[in-house]
């Protein structure tokens, strides 16, 4: 399924982007040909410049992560005298990046599974059952999607305190789930809505209950939608900064994003920039690798998100 999808988009890619060079222009169109080449060259220059603007800071960060602080202070261009992973080791252990990383994996992983499960269940019910209040819930989700989290942050602090889960990972997880829920429901809703009704009816005739109908028939059919919403939820939760900063202030429970911020503000005094650069690389690389591997599928999901 995935493989065929990727080859599909592969071929369409080729059709649009990497055709063989056009054959020499017919005689009557020579002037257009020159103009064409000019536009094509300008496009390549502009896109190339943008690509450089993106890639140079990243490469420079990678380079600097191998330098010592004194090397960083001497020149932004110099190469490290020795290519050692000392900065990485000390960032991972003594600066606590390893611990933050682990916390993030636990929090984002658990929240992602929960929100995808709850979100698809809720979207399924809203999309395929009519009951009083259905539209109201749908619009409530929409409002929850557009309101800034900042508005909720102060009361949320006290809600979590009331439940006794302030400054704990479970508290952070359930907050992540709650705030990712509107997005998940809103974007999965159309997927469940267009699933064919006759398949559901066939399952009913075969005696499947509501639970089995959802997990064995409807959920598998909505897989493409779930995959793309899951990707966006992952990036969103991985990126989340405000919720942990306000609601998860115990240093042992820090997630990566807030750990990085804390580290950077400390590095301002300790001036161990080599470690800071190493920590940045540790944060970027896993997601970047996953992205490069799955970039075709991801770009597919961007287009789906766009069409909503």
């Amino acid at each position: 399924m995935t493989a065929s999808a990727s080859t599909d988009s592969d071929t369409s890619q080729h059709a649009v982007t990497s055709d063989p060079p056009p054959s020499p222009p017919p005689p009557g169109q020579k002037r257009g040909g020159a103009g064409d080449r000019a536009v094509t060259s300008v496009s390549h220059v502009v896109l190339g410049l943008w690509a450089l603007l993106v890639i140079i800071p990243l490469l420079w960060t990678l380079l600097s992560s191998f330098k010592t602080s004194s090397e960083i202070f001497s020149s932004p261009f110099s190469l490290p005298a020795t290519w050692s992973f000392d900065n990485y080791v000390s960032a991972w252990t003594s600066e606590g990046i390893g611990r933050y990383f682990l916390n993030t994996v636990v929090v984002v992983g658990t929240a992602l599974v929960l929100v995808m499960l709850l979100g698809s269940m809720c979207a399924y019910v809203l999309a395929r059952f009519s009951f009083p209040g259905n539209r109201l819930i749908y619009y409530l989700m929409l409002v929850g999607l557009t309101f800034p989290i900042f508005l909720a942050i102060v009361p949320l602090f006290f809600v979590l305190k009331g439940f006794g889960i302030l400054n704990t990972l479970p508290g952070l997880i359930i907050t992540y789930v709650a705030f990712a829920l509107p997005f998940t429901v809103f974007f999965l809703y159309p997927f469940f809505r267009v699933l064919p009704q006759d398949v559901a009816e066939a399952a009913e005739i075969d005696g499947a209950g509501e639970w089995r109908k959802f997990f064995q028939v409807m959920l598998p059919m909505a897989k493409p939608g779930i995959a793309s919403v899951a990707i966006f939820n992952f990036l969103g939760l991985w990126n989340q900064f405000l919720l942990p900063v306000a609601l998860n202030t115990n240093r042992d429970n820090y997630v990566l994003s807030q750990g990085m911020a804390a580290f950077a503000s400390r590095a301002g005094y300790n001036t161990d920039y080599g470690r800071l650069f190493a920590a940045v690389v540790i944060t970027i690389v896993p997601v970047l690798i996953v992205y490069v591997i799955f970039q075709r599928q991801l770009q597919g999901s961007v287009s789906q998100g766009a069409s909503k």
């Binding site: 809600v159 997927f191 493409p224 490069v292 766009a306």
Partner: protein, 332 residues
């Protein structure tokens, strides 16, 4: 294969599968409703809806957060905000961001996407640029990096003495930039911060526009070309109207982001920047709430942010409709 089933027909409203509850309330159905609807809604209500409702209420009180005393003071908090120069500066900065960031990002992303998709030769079928996948993959990189880390990378890039930017500028002979504090000078702090935000988002919206442009039937471009439309004409008169809804979505998302911008500003200038030139409302809100203990006032700031966001979305919808977009509601 992945894309085909995903675009919902716009008129499913009528074909909504009607469930007649003629079947008995078995354990299966009761547990189903409880887990599938009540559980998610309970979490959503307790952790999202309830805090939002409370925030509106708190914004009308003088609650400090640490004592149970809470007096209803009407709109006094809002009056205080109007007289609070620092908050008004933050509001103004957010408005500047909301004007500049979406516009520049969308224009840049649209231009790059156009170059990638239809920038190739105009002979034969309309085609994109060779090697465009390379540009697309690279441009998307920043979107996979957490915003706080983007901020930290550029904080180092902008560093007056050790940063790469000043290194390059002095390297090519512009000695005036030696030790120039990009983020420490009130004239450049905001533009530099805006650049960082745009850097982080152009690639994502470029990919989004590329996908949208690819869904436009190629015949339309061929027809435009036969009619003698140039490249710019084609981009503005054919492409832009056809991907109008994508542009609107992008604009609103970027606007919401720019009316926040908290993460970037915290990374680049934690204290609000020189002369508060990069201070944004969320920074002020957090200080007011958790350092000064003025939770009522902080909630009022949150309400102002929410109102600004709604107003921004309303403006974008209205402008899109005025320039000929389909009325909202046709597409959900």
């Amino acid at each position: 294969m992945i894309e085909a089933p995903l675009v919902p027909p716009a008129d499913t409203e009528k074909s909504l599968p009607r469930k007649k509850s003629r079947r008995p309330w078995t354990f299966d159905r009761i547990s189903f409703v409880l887990v599938f609807l009540v559980l998610p809604l309970a979490i959503f209500s307790v952790f999202v809806v309830w805090p939002f409702v409370q925030a509106f209420w708190y914004s009308l009180t003088d609650w400090s957060g640490f004592t149970p005393d809470m007096n209803f003071i009407g709109l006094e908090n809002y009056q205080k905000l109007l007289q609070d120069d620092i908050f008004m500066t933050a509001l103004r900065n957010n408005v500047i961001l909301a004007i500049v960031v979406p516009f520049v990002t969308v224009v840049l992303a649209f231009a790059l996407a156009t170059m990638i998709t239809v920038g190739g030769s105009t002979y034969g079928a309309t085609r994109g640029l060779k090697g465009s996948s390379f540009y697309r993959v690279i441009s998307f990189f920043p979107y996979t990096i957490p915003a706080i880390v983007i901020g930290l990378i550029w904080l180092q890039m902008f560093d007056p003495s050790n940063g790469l930017l000043n290194g390059i500028l002095t390297g090519i002979g512009l000695d005036g930039f030696d030790s120039y504090p990009w983020l420490g000078d009130a004239r450049t702090a905001m533009p530099a911060s805006i650049f960082v935000i745009i850097w982080g988002f152009v690639g994502f919206y470029m990919v989004l526009f590329v996908a949208a442009i690819k869904s436009v039937p190629g015949e339309l471009y061929d027809a435009a070309r036969i009619d003698g439309a140039g490249r710019f004409r084609t981009a503005f008169s054919v492409t832009l109207p056809l991907i109008r809804d994508n542009v609107q979505t992008a604009y609103i998302y970027l606007g919401i982001l720019a009316l926040d911008a908290f993460v970037y500003m915290v990374a680049l200038n934690p204290g609000g920047g020189p002369e508060n030139s990069t201070l944004v409302m969320p920074q002020r809100l957090l200080v007011t709430a958790f350092e000064k203990g003025q939770f009522g006032l902080a909630s009022a700031m949150g309400v102002v942010m929410a109102v600004a966001t709604m107003a921004f979305a309303a403006i974008v919808f209205t402008v899109n409709r005025l320039v000929g977009g389909r009325p909202e509601g046709v597409r959900r």
